[in-house]
């Protein structure tokens, strides 16, 4: 391999970079796959709202004595519950989807701030900046296992329900008439999104995690005309954008999460320029 190639790939000699690469690309792929359905349903703000709800879940975990690493185990069911709550309001009231998301997101985030303040004076300090902006390079071996487990679960469920979920995304009423359990599938989609968002918060933080779900899928939608091609493109963009952003941030010595999101964003704007009319 050339000297340049060696230099570019040199970071892979360090275990924490390998963990970050695996965690990031797996999350990029999983988020992008889910994002195909989320974006098609016009729920782009949902993942952002769930990310903010995750903050409340992590704060609850910290309040009950979990370490910052283990707090995610409280945040997972907490955020899934918020996702199901949002879906319940969407289905059972006349409020539009973004309104329910806005309410739950604000309440959960506020609850998180309150819960952090309720911790005793002897509690270890919390790195709020780390929560908000994440740290992909700090993913622990345990954290990587959680990410891989969530990704495997999401991929398995999507493989099982993908065609029915796609039909319900095209037209829920016609899908229902063809025997698809539309309401149940929508709850599943939101629960899966919540899972990916929670584990994503550890890597790119509350503020940026929704980009993993929204940007690759939105870019692929600009480029593709068939669902399988759009899904494949979204996954490829999620993986390549994350890997490129990670290496670029390492060599430029800048924030990893932000570099990944900017890389994905650059792909979106390029697609906007070169899309098929």
């Amino acid at each position: 391999m050339s000297d340049l190639g060696d230099a570019l790939l040199a970071p892979l000699g360090q275990a924490f970079v390998v963990r970050a690469l695996v965690a990031g690309t797996v999350l990029g792929a999983t988020g992008a796959l889910l994002g195909v359905f989320v974006v098609q349903r016009g729920l782009g703000l949902l993942s952002d709202g769930l990310a903010h709800a995750t903050f409340g879940g992590i704060a609850l975990g910290l309040l009950v004595g979990a370490s910052p690493d283990r707090a995610i185990l409280v945040a997972l069911p907490f955020t899934v519950a918020i996702a199901l709550g949002i879906q319940y309001v969407r289905r059972n009231t006349s409020l539009a989807g973004d309104v329910a998301t806005g309410v739950f997101f604000a309440v959960s985030f506020a609850a998180g701030i309150l819960l952090l303040g309720l911790r005793g004076p002897s509690s270890p300090p919390v790195n709020v900046e780390g929560l908000l902006f994440g740290s992909l390079l700090a993913v622990s071996p345990d954290g990587l296992v959680v990410i891989l487990a969530v990704a495997a679960l999401v991929a398995s469920v999507l493989a099982a329900i993908g065609p029915r979920l796609a039909y319900a995304t095209f037209d829920p009423e016609l899908a229902e008439l063809s025997g698809v359990k539309v309401a149940a599938l929508e709850y599943v989609l939101l629960a899966l999104t919540a899972l990916v968002v929670v584990v994503g918060v550890k890597t790119v933080g509350v503020v940026l995690v929704s980009a993993f779900v929204v940007i690759p899928a939105a870019t692929a939608n600009l480029l593709g005309t068939r669902l399988p091609a759009i899904a494949a493109t979204a996954v490829a963009l999620g993986v390549l954008g994350t890997a490129f952003g990670l290496f670029a941030s390492y060599h430029l010595n800048v924030a990893t999460g932000a570099t990944i999101i900017l890389t994905l964003g650059a792909g979106f704007f390029l697609a906007l320029v070169f899309r098929r009319r």
Binding site: Q40, A166, Y167, D171, L174, G179, V180, N221, L227, P228
Partner: protein, 247 residues
């Protein structure tokens, strides 16, 4: 032979408001019937109840001898408002195949493609097979949704104002298609329409619905009574047999 639709004292309540009350009528297994009446009279609600999308509060609706939910797979439905997601990357062949497979076809087996092609050919839309749904005109969309409804080989076809918003030529062509389907006597057809000419031309019976069934009989009987009542039909040529009036 089992009736295609049998309504017995059916009432539907939506949001606390009784939309239909004590509706009773029957459509035979090979009959072409039209549901007519003013806007807001409950025609669409009846169709939605007949496919199990809204429940009956009292009485019952039997479709092909079963409950509406159980009969769904044997009923073809063409909705009034095309509520599909217009940003979804859908092709015509996929839309039609999805109704047979019950899921969006990520890969299309040859048998599904052929079934979709045959259904489109039946409605004169074979050239649309690979077209993207988003680029179709109102008339073309109607053909696609009719093909989608026919692809499962239904015994009952329910069409809810299918030509609303379609131009005059497309409307006439679509209603001629329905005339061909009616002539085959392979299935029962229930058409919701405001088009008096279509009712006279196509239907064996018309059912006038305005909250309940106010009249039920031959098209001439029902339409003449409706005409005296003030008219819920479009077009001033009430006796016209042209199919170009508003649906």
């Amino acid at each position: 032979m089992t009736a295609a639709i049998r309504a017995e004292g059916a009432s539907v309540v939506l949001g606390g408001h009784t939309v239909l009350r004590d509706v009773s009528f029957e459509v035979e297994h090979d009959e072409f019937a039209c549901l007519v009446g003013p806007n807001g009279g409950g025609k669409t609600t009846f169709v939605r109840a007949a496919i199990g999308l809204v429940p009956t509060a009292t009485g019952r609706i039997e479709v092909l001898g079963r409950s509406p939910e159980e009969a769904r797979r044997r009923v073809g439905y063409v909705p009034q408002l095309k509520g599909f997601n217009r940003s979804f990357p859908a092709r015509v062949v996929e839309v039609i195949a999805a109704n047979r497979t019950g899921g969006w076809p990520l890969r299309l087996p040859a048998a599904e493609r052929e079934a979709a092609r045959a259904a489109l050919a039946r409605v004169g839309g074979e050239r649309l097979l690979e077209a993207r749904l988003a680029g179709l005109s109102g008339g073309e969309l109607q053909r696609v949704f009719l093909a989608r409804a026919l692809v499962t080989g239904p015994k009952l076809l329910l069409l809810d104002e299918p030509t609303a918003g379609v131009d005059v030529r497309g409307r006439a062509e679509f209603l001629e298609l329905l005339a061909g389907i009616a002539a085959s006597h392979e299935l029962a057809v229930v058409l919701v329409t405001h088009n008096a000419a279509a009712v006279r031309r196509l239907a064996r019976r018309a059912i006038y619905v305005d909250g309940t069934v106010l009249a039920w009989g031959t098209p001439d009987d029902v339409l003449d009574r409706e005409w005296e009542r003030g008219g819920a039909f479009s077009g001033h040529d009430h006796a016209s047999h042209s199919l170009c009036e508003d649906a």
